[in-house]
Structure formats: structure tokens, C-alpha cells
Symmetry: C2
Subunit: 116 residues, 2 copies
């Protein structure tokens, strides 16, 4: 059993190509013994974005605070906001963008523990 | 890709033995195509609790709102509150209790999609 909170966790800048003003924290991962999947938290700062990319695993998201858009394979933007859940399937082209000038977009981005 | 929010989702009462005043919603599961794991949300009403039990799969939790305690195998209680994350390992005896008289405990309880 493990209990943690974001304030206790190291925050590292995401340096992946295509990412802009994104920070990562990892509350629960295989390093804590989680056998199947991991909870990461991304903070996408104002006007920031994740890469517009694909990967062979899914994302399960919960928006902790703020708002933004989730861009699909056709470039279409879907609003996401505090309290929303999102599923991005394996190999699905996607991007998270914070279009706000006011507040960061903070979200859980859960992935299989093979990847975190 | 799928985006949803709790207000859109059916809420069913948990009738499992040992559960008291607990409601379940399922934002993301294998029925939506999630290949590895699922997000369920439990609302534990004031003075309610989940069963004190074990199962062969893990829980990954995020506390959306409210507060309560997570009881471990020895009956020891650990405080959990809005913004906290918890990991309960497979076969670990556990229970979530809302000891408040004021507000529900609302939390993500993610499990492998074989179980939801």
C-alpha cells in the first residue's frame, strides 16, 4: 500500500521533441510495485502542448484542473476540462494543448507499466 | 478516442456484501476498447465504506473530492484526501471508509480491464 500526493513528487520537464512547456510527475509506477499500469501526471503550462504523435500503448486521462483540447488524428480539437475523462487508443495520433493564458492543464495520463 | 464526464454516466449502487452507501460509475473500460485497464469512480457517501476484502488485482486510486481513510491489512487507518493517490497491491486486505458527516468521498479506482 502506498499513498502520495503531487506536492511530494519530483517534477521533471518533458524534453521529448514536439513537447512545449510540459512537466511530468509519477505518483504510481512499476517502481512502486504496480503490476499492470502506472499513473503519471502531466502539467501542460499556458500555451504549452504535448507532441502530436502516436505510440503503441493507450492513454487513460483524468483532468485534475484547467482546460485544453485533445487533438485527434484528423487535427480536430475536442474540449477537455477539469473533471473530464479521456481514452486515447494505441497507435492513435493525438496531442493535448493548453490554449489558455490563465492556468495550467493538469491531468493524469495512465499507461501500461511496461512504459513507465 | 473517447471523452466523457461523470455527470453523463449512470451511477449504480454497489450491492457487494460489506459495502455500505457506495456508488459506482465507469468512465473508461474494456467496453470502450481500453485494452489493459479501466477507470471506475466510486462515491462513498458520508459514513459509508467499501468491503474490507482482498482480490487478486491491484487498485490505483486518485481522490477527486472529499476525504476518508484507507484501512490496511492490520486495521491501521491512513488518511486520504482530495488530490491524493493510492496504490493497493493484489491480494492486499483493504477498505476505504468515509468518516465524514459532511461530504462524499469520490475517487478513481482503476483496475486491470479483465475485471471491469
Amino acid at each position: 500500500m502506498k499513498i502520495t500526493t503531487l506536492k511530494e513528487l519530483e517534477k521533471t520537464k518533458v524534453t521529448m521533441e514536439g513537447a512545449s512547456n510540459v512537466w511530468k510527475q509519477v505518483p504510481i509506477s512499476k517502481s512502486h510495485g504496480s503490476p499492470t499500469f502506472s499513473f503519471r501526471v502531466f502539467t501542460v503550462e499556458q500555451q504549452g502542448h504535448t507532441p502530436y504523435h502516436t505510440h503503441p500503448f493507450e492513454h487513460l486521462n483524468y483532468i485534475i484542473s484547467g482546460s485544453g483540447v485533445l487533438v485527434n488524428k484528423d487535427g480536430r480539437e475536442y474540449q477537455i476540462k477539469e473533471g473530464d475523462f479521456a481514452l486515447v487508443l494505441p497507435d492513435e495520433l493525438h496531442q493535448y494543448r493548453n490554449k489558455s493564458s490563465d492556468e495550467p492543464l493538469v491531468m493524469i495520463c495512465a499507461v501500461p507499466s511496461d512504459y513507465e
